[in-house]
């Protein structure tokens, strides 16, 4: 199976990615090659096989439900592209 430009548009929407129009053909050709590679999985007989949940067959530990980390908002917001009065700035979302 191969992916055409409509598929790429849909995936870019799902993944919130912009790809310039002149790169779409190359992206779709390369993704189609990758799909051809992963299509080899279809030949494997997995009728009786359980999907792997964890390589060591373990479950994750639970911890006590208590706050253990301090949040230093100013320190964290040092990395933010745009903040005002402790809030992150993004394009308007509510009219």
């Amino acid at each position: 199976m191969s992916l055409d430009s409509t598929d790429i548009d849909k995936l870019c929407e799902l993944a919130r990615l912009a790809i310039p129009a002149d790169e779409v053909a190359d992206v779709s050709a390369k993704l189609s090659d990758i799909v051809a590679l992963v299509d080899q999985l279809k030949a494997a007989d997995t009728a009786e096989v359980e999907p792997m949940a964890h390589p060591l067959d373990r479950s994750q530990r639970l911890r006590v439900d208590s706050a253990t980390e301090d949040v230093d908002r100013e320190l964290y917001q040092d990395n933010a592209p745009a903040v005002e009065r402790g809030l992150y700035l993004v394009p308007k979302v509510i009219d």
Binding site: L3, D7, I8, L11, C12, L14, A15, R16, L17, A18, I19, P20, V27, K30, L31, D33, I34, V35, A36, L37, V38, D39, Q40, L41, K42, A44, T46, V49, E50, P51, M52, A53, H54, P55, L56, R58, Q60, R61, R63, T68, D72, L75, Y76, Q77, D78, N79, A80, P81, A82, Y88, L89, V90, P91, V93
Partner: protein, 489 residues
Amino acid sequence: MHDKTLALTARALQAGEISSVELTNRCLERIRRFDESLNAFITVTGDRALEQAAAADRRIAAGDATALTGIPIAHKDIFCTAGIRTSCGSRMLDNFISPYDATVVERLSRAGAVMLGKTNMDEFAMGSSNETSFYGAVHNPWDRDKVPGGSSGGSAAAVAARLVPAATGTDTGGSIRQPAALAGVTGLKPTYGRVSRYGMVAFASSLDQAGTLTQTAEDAALLLEAMAGCDSRDSTSLDEPVPDYSRAIGEPLEGLTIGVPENFFDDGLDAGNAAALTEALGELERLGAKLKSIRLDNVHLSVPAYYVVAPAEASSNLSRFDGVRYGYRSPEAMAGDLNAFYRRNRGEGFGAEVKRRILIGAWVLSTGYYDAYYLQAQKVRQLISGDFARAFEDVDIVAGPTTPTPAFGIGQKTGDPVQMYLNDIYTIGANLAGLPAMSVPCGFSGALPVGLQLIGPHLSEARLLQTAHHFQRETDWHARVPPGYGENP
């Protein structure tokens, strides 16, 4: 001194033959002299390193040193370092100053290791050649027109060129072992969960594991002892005691049975690599190991399974990079609506390979494809894991090639992602099954190094390190220095 192993350097430090400040200055001088031609470092933290070195010297004088106190090391730029840029090789994080240290960084720092800087890597660890870095390709010190392997290519090149005695790396599909093989150093990927992933920028969370790039297995043992162990901040880190690896490596090899997968030695393997590997397996036999031919029947499915599971997890993990709280924001981002804002930030902030993997991940997880691809890949993963489990009923470890060929040319495979992915054919199985694995220098194909891969059952790091250590006591492949990098400083 610069070409000494970590273990020998530690002895010299403890004996007062050299100070950490002297040692650190020599490493920094070598980085200044050689790194322009290698591009192994993204950030060099000279001033901070000298402060840490002075503190280490005081600690040694006070008799309060560990084996790593005063040893200069470098961290792959995927590990968060408080107050220092952590770029992950991406434009997306070019301006990101981590507010905290990764557990690996914190533990090595607590042991007294001196951080020289952050090493170059494929963007978000996605690559097998270190060519996808936003900061440019890393050059292989054995031949600067060749790749050093990836994604921990900067760490491998820095250790190979003796800029630093040891470096950290991460391995999701071979990213420690493959560059270790192509650059002629010793690389260890521990069992999934052996080392905490806290503060290690996530690529594929069910596969990622931190490890080491060193000259020798003895050095890897010293580092792993300090890095490994349960961490309350990583719920997938294993709650298992950390063995005394340095002691274990000296134990005799007698009685060791090594499985050699016959289907790893097929037409896809370079003739020079095959010859070096055959010689290395003979050496292990002379050391007392018994070789046994085995088959890993589903190994040909490891690359396809990986390129479903890893991109699926990556598309989810990388959704956090949106240009709101940190990371790249397009100059035009505020012009459109919120959707366009995300798409611009991510479209401009990520490179081509990262975008491909995010899109493939979104595709295999999307309605109508999930069962056929993602679920099927997780079942195939179980088959591959089962192959190894059956093999380990008869053999202690598995030995074979790390890579199909020696280092290839810079630019040679960048136009064809699938060809690039096939470099990882021998390494991916260990990640899918969560097994510990190493690459050990074992000879040359032409003028380029070849790696011998050792894979063991879960938590058998001591066994792997012991095998590699005995091999390195009888061979000197690991001690070869690339031409032009042998002189002082």
